[in-house]
Symmetry: C2
Subunit: 281 residues, 2 copies
């Protein structure tokens, strides 16, 4: 195995297995052909053609679309199609900077292949030996990636909160990082991927932050979502990435992005250009 | 103007205006249809069809292909089609990590739309006010981007030299940075673009490095390629990027990448995802 396998795990999907999901003619998601039967009962809201599902164009407001999509989402839930319902609203639109067309329960986002957004933060400690990274082990009760390794702090991006504000909230919940310390986190770019997963199509952009932590800082989880934390040297983290499948599929990319930006992965390594390109799709 | 205009300046090209350049059926470049007449005299080396120029498949070795391409390149030069001949050999292949198929004079690379590679280094100084960036003003005698603003050190990636070794060499030539100091430069990722320019198609990957310089360090040019250096606050650099066209088209991207990685551009700024995506095409 190698770092490139982590990239490949977020690799391209077979578009032939999906139908576009469109609002006003614009593609905003993709639904597995295999799942189409779930949507056939909503002929008053959805038009299904050979290549797309289209939301009724008479739904012209955020509120009307949100109500229609909630009816479908609730029905999917009632039929047991939505593991890990969260009661957390995600905005859905053509892209992050465009106005959202509606909001919808976070757990159904991959079933529709809507774009998803999250904040991921690498917490690290610098000493004379180099960089150590804090790594979280996700709780076994998480609906996605239970027991997998993750950043010290990571979370989805809900409706009505800025990225940095969301990060500070997640820092408190996931690792008990005080707000004043969390506010020092530096935005350092994004990673993006569009890949087929058991839960559907993950078409995500993750906003990455770095936070250099004091050597004496010890994270502790407050919301039950993290089982434990490790402080590993960058060599240890790299070895885990290269020899195991222990990191959650997308969290591995965020670690690779960190290693690229901090020169832990050298530009003269043969796979370098493929690695960097693989972080931005 | 805005940072997004700098990204747009490296934006997609109109593929309809180009023919693929192929070796053994693999596309390795693209030639402007407008320039096709330059190649029509080489029917023993090139087959021209509706959508591509193909190098004679009987040229099966690096050496044979290099010799054939040199014949074409020299002819282009003799007919005045190659400004800024450099006597510097570039390796050409399907991608950076693939074995090169041949080498060719650097100045003709855009005329064939071959992939080009370079090293670009942001030199910076950190003090209590934040980050200052060293900016170079290119000599008026440079064949590309004369008088434009650039990184403190930047150069093409020639045959037979590793990236870091090339960077250390360029650090000495362009800014008189001692090798021991240059060796501390940190590889921090790439930017890539494929865009139509007066000189042809620029399908480039730039390997970016950061070097934190001592406050007292003063760069000085030794090869006549840099007219002068400025040490500007990150706010000043951003203002120049946002209000002028003074940076060389690709050097602007390298500065934006620096600003993204150091949190000078905030993730909550509306254009953020488009900016980051625009650095990786």
């Amino acid at each position: 195995m190698s770092l490139i396998d982590r990239i490949a795990a977020c690799g391209p999907y077979d578009a032939g297995l999906y139908l576009d999901f469109c609002v006003d003619g614009a593609r905003i998601g993709a639904v597995r052909r295999h799942d189409l039967s779930h949507f056939e009962g909503f002929q008053d809201l959805l038009t299904i053609s050979d290549d797309r599902l289209s939301l009724d164009p008479k739904l012209t407001t955020y509120q009307a679309r949100t109500g229609a999509m909630a009816r479908i989402a609730n029905d999917l839930r009632d039929r047991g199609q939505v593991p890990g319902w969260r009661d957390e609203a995600y905005p859905v639109g053509v892209k992050f900077s465009a106005p959202a067309l509606f909001q919808i329960e976070r757990a159904v986002v991959p079933l529709f292949g809507f774009k998803g957004y999250g904040v991921h933060m690498n917490g690290f400690v610098r000493d004379h030996q180099g960089i150590k990274l804090w790594v979280g082990k996700r709780s076994q009760s998480k609906p996605t990636g239970p027991g997998k390794l993750d950043q010290i702090v990571a979370g989805g991006q809900p409706v009505g909160l800025g990225l940095k504000d969301n990060l500070i909230k997640e820092c408190a919940e996931e690792a008990n990082i005080p707000a004043a310390l969390a506010a020092q986190a530096v935005p350092v770019g994004t990673v993006s991927y569009c890949t087929s997963r058991p839960e559907g199509l993950r078409d995500d952009v993750l906003f990455n932050y770095d936070l250099e932590l004091p050597a004496e800082f010890q994270p502790s989880n407050t919301d039950g979502e993290v089982e434990r934390f490790y402080l590993w040297s960058s060599d240890q983290v790299r070895e885990v990435l290269e020899t195991t499948d222990d990191f959650k599929f997308n969290s591995g990319l965020v670690v690779i992005d960190f290693m690229v930006r901090h020169g832990i992965i050298d530009a003269d390594e043969p796979a370098y250009t493929d690695l960097v390109a693989g972080l931005h799709r």
